[in-house]
Symmetry: D2
Subunit: 368 residues, 4 copies
């Protein structure tokens, strides 16, 4: 069905394949009056680049965004913002081989099972390039949230067995290290581990963590539209994510109530929590503490070892995948996680504005 | 907003509070022609009961479902099925105390922050009784899936540190043990652990696992409506769930590609996978292997120890929660996980029917 | 599919058949803090009654609403409001005959064509009784709109060839005349016309008009979610409606631009329009003038004349429908039109609150 | 909010302003396997042109569509189809004057009331050019419906007081006459009437009629998602439409039941209706007869007479609008009506595929 749309009031629709003419997104429901230009979006897209090109200077002129609609006099008009990124650097390689069989760990087989055939060039719609639209929209959502005092910070928490030590959190390292870890020492270890993986013609999984600070209490809805439920959908919809945690996440399942409950207390006449095992959400509604989530990514499925699989003729075969493939998805996915979280949070904030009668009566009495 | 509705074509809307007159669900979009009576639904609701009452005979006559609409001549008519469960056994206890403060780990504070006040009796809408509507609808979805050859099995995988050993999987134990573990030996250990928790006025978290077998390949949608994304939302929307895994889940993040990729091969002229690290979903679309998911539940927040919190007057206080509270949520949540998974999978199956032009042309040429 | 849900933020789901156990509605997304009791809803439901019972005293105790959830301390809590009306007065007549053939002008054939069979008792889900849920929800929406200064007034504009003369608009007559016309003289003529129809074993169509006053300018969205588009869907979804007009409606199609354009001018430092051909909506957004719409109802299809039709065996037959059937639908539909208009307008008002960045920043800066 | 998306399973999202860089649409949910190229879409877009350019040869190279995604090997892949039309011919005229005041009959004032400011160039998002996306998507929907045996025919029924006589229906005249009337004689009269309007610096309204043939019985849903309700929303969402009729429409309101009911009878072992007052829909579900609808368009609001209005400074002023404006919207709107009807009908057909249990079990038993 129409699976390329996300959100209720802040709604985005992405389109485009790895090797088509372009990729893009339509953002519908952005509030009017936000100053916005290409650079706001480009700075997010640049974070999607591979480690070397992201930090290299001068950067390669690729994945350049164009704003096609929705902006006038430098500000959003409230009407759809159409963003487009031409596919300039995709080489028309020989995909004849890939076309004929199903790569393990990829969506080749499932797309064929669903649609009867597929655009096999570079993975088509199931390529990681599909996230360009998410990130472009995430840039807009993040800028709006910033105006509301809400900030998102995502980074690589671990790669394979190497975990960042957050006790010396180095914010600048997120954008400057190849792994996007906030811990240069762990980054070095992770780089060494990845080199090892490459030598072994193998790849690695990893974890992205995201913190959302400045969240007011009271955002999100009970039952099915819980803020954590929508965040989970947002994060799990990113290709290669296999698990999502909020707050203590899976550790909560092994904990006791006395360890997991967060005590409320008064601080500067405000209600705060002494700990944040909940990850900033109770009963699906933000509790005023920072929201904390984690996305678990599987290893890059394209590895250069011999692998068993079947071809379209229904024969068991052995294949060796060629081409250039990152040994880990995680560093490039950091900004994708941050973007998806921004989209889910902004939508919840917009929806929340009509949750009390007094909000409606105050709003409309001011209008008259 | 309208957070009590789930699904696109198979859509359910739940309602009701812990201590209101009744709880219920409206199922809209159930296909016509399914034989359905109260017993089909009651057998699911009975699985929501506490361990002793679930297996005791004769069972306590509580949480009895009534079908109010949508059935004629014993079959679904295609119009909304309204199911209602009267709240007979909820005692009008003295909730004056709870009304005045915010229980740690509960949604008391966040409901007040959002709505300005709350129905504090038994947790109101944030009570575990809210799941009655989910389970009643899940019974209907499961019966439909059964006709399609798709079966769901959920059980307790672990409680606190005690994990079921699936190498001697005992299906009958799921319904007969107090913990709903498919492993009577682990069940005994878990019961002992829970007794210890109670002695310490504490509670425990745990893990529910769900297997969906008989899934055809090709169900689910790319990008935002991925089958795993919708399953994650479905599961994470259950109160107390803090993490969700598909397939290898978080272990995938620590794995290498050569360990995580599943080899395809031919078996009886069908494409199958030699392993199932993916948990039955690739690129958001079912791959024909069983779907495997895990829900991580936090410990029951109602514990009998002294806890610090704040009251509505903005004072720091110490409280001791009274009443009857399970030391673990997990066994009663098993059928809730199974129900939510059924709802997400059935909706995806219905949506999938128009994914190819030939499906449309075949369908409508037969109608003429 | 799930066709029984209406609205985005203020969302209602209706259920129930003519001769089932009960009918009802779940209202999800009502803002918290609205004082609400059964009488608020009952007064709307009473307007659905046939002319004589509506104005007779003491009224027949039928279609009594029960509030099952969503209210605490006399106010809405922000969680789903479940309303139920038991089907007490539906006689279990002999429907064996109706079951076997397709009544002209009814949905008997189309339900069978879609679902394979149908609940034939009293029309099942396609009965006019389906509107009970709409009206119960409309009562809640109207009360909220009232707090916002927005008022709806619907009445019978015409029955067959008899049209109410609005130059002596008598508001009290809407509730007191059998036809719900705001013109007692026209009411008398219409009653005589209807008597004639009954003598001829025939029925009549008619028109309901609805005025929405107090609308602030700026509500509604461009393109597909235009306020008039959603009002049209709301009205056309009422059984028996065959046309909808906004403002001058079909007369606009015969007019010239100089006749149809409304001049803006300043009045008391506010922008107003000198005329209201637009019916209060320009470009899908409210323009501050009253919204004016008209619903055109076909005649009651159940007439007592001999009619040709086919039976389920595929034979051409002649039938004579029996039972009690109103010769006109319109007077009882007045409150249905008003209710559906209220639902569409309230939803648009709630959605509109996030249309500007400053609304978001002001709202959330006040929360912190 | 996100008002630029239409449809549930066949979902479209349009974007673009009159004088922006481009306009376009993303079609999500198109079934895989449909042969599709630019010419399929261009032929629809060409019907949006003004009368002379539409029939002139060689045609002016304007509004040329580009397919950016969703097609592989000449066929739809099931993933989003992104269509873009560059805004090449929009002159950057001097809009300084329009920017300062509110044109009567336009959405200038309501956009400002909603968003605080607007893109005033050529009407921005409220321009008729917004329909480019609708028509491009309508071309795809129509081609799919054609494969299913469903055909749509729209034409101008009347312009001002001049009505086409359908007793000599000339199909070829729809595409070849300047007015798109299927009656060359009426076309001549209408052209003369329009010339008169222009001389008087005035404009005219008119009516578009659309017939949908080949509709199977049983499509559409009861209650809120009635096929006629969705068609009404689709049509009323077109700018300048002020009324919608299905079948006899407003005439049904003046009729008697004996005149309005359609008798069923058997013909070639199929159930058909002797008349079609219902316009092919009963109870919101298609009845197998052709669907008939009418859209009533107001006159072009841009007229060259002096008009009273207010400016942004809040002063009463007199204005004379300049530029090139059609004296009637209707001929160019014919293909827009046809497109919107196609979108609504196709979505209903796709949704309908899961309405019976046997459809689901048959579908999935074939898949295994």
């Amino acid at each position: 069905m129409a699976g390329s749309t996300f959100g209720t009031l802040f709604k985005i629709t992405t389109w485009g394949e790895s090797h088509g003419k372009a990729l893009g997104v339509v953002i519908d429901g952005a509030p009017a009056g936000l100053p916005l230009d290409e650079q706001d979006i480009q700075s997010f897209l640049d974070r999607r680049k591979p480690g070397q090109s992201r930090i290299a200077t001068p950067r390669k002129e690729s994945d350049l965004v164009q704003i096609l609609s929705g902006i006038f006099d430098g500000k959003t008009t409230g009407t759809p913002i159409s963003l487009l990124v031409p596919n300039t650097s995709q080489k028309s390689s020989d995909y004849g081989e890939i076309a004929s069989y199903y790569r393990p760990g990829h969506a080749d087989y499932t797309f064929d099972a669903k649609y009867g055939f597929r655009d096999y060039r570079g993975g088509g719609r199931s390529s990681g390039r599909e996230t360009i639209g998410r990130v472009a929209a995430g840039a807009v959502a993040s800028k709006i949230l910033g105006r509301m005092g809400i900030a998102l910070t995502a980074y690589t928490r671990s790669i394979g067995p190497i975990e960042a030590d957050l006790s010396h959190f180095d914010r600048s390292a997120i954008l400057s290290t190849p792994t996007c870890m906030p811990d240069p020492a762990a980054d070095e270890l992770a780089c060494a581990y990845l080199k090892e993986c490459m030598t072994e013609k193998d790849s690695s999984g990893g974890v992205v963590e995201c913190i959302i600070s400045g969240m007011p209490a009271g955002v999100g809805d009970p039952v099915f539209e819980k803020l954590d439920a929508n965040l989970s959908k947002a994060i799990m919809s990113i290709g290669a994510v296999k698990a999502v945690e909020i707050g203590d996440g899976l550790r909560a399942a092994a904990a006791k109530g006395s360890e997991n409950n967060d005590a409320f207390h008064m601080e500067d006449e405000k209600i705060v929590k002494k700990t944040n095992h909940s990850g900033g959400i109770l009963g699906g509604i933000s509790d005023g503490s920072p929201i904390l989530l984690r996305a678990f990514f599987k290893p890059t499925p394209s590895i250069f070892r011999k692998q068993e699989t079947v071809n379209k003729a229904g024969e068991n075969i052995t294949v060796e995948i060629k081409g250039r493939h990152d040994p880990v998805i995680v560093p490039r996915a950091v900004v994708v996680v941050e973007s998806m979280a921004a989209l889910a949070v902004l939508d919840a904030c917009m929806i929340n504005m009509s949750s009390r009668l007094e909000y409606l009566t105050d709003f409309y009495s001011q209008k008259k």
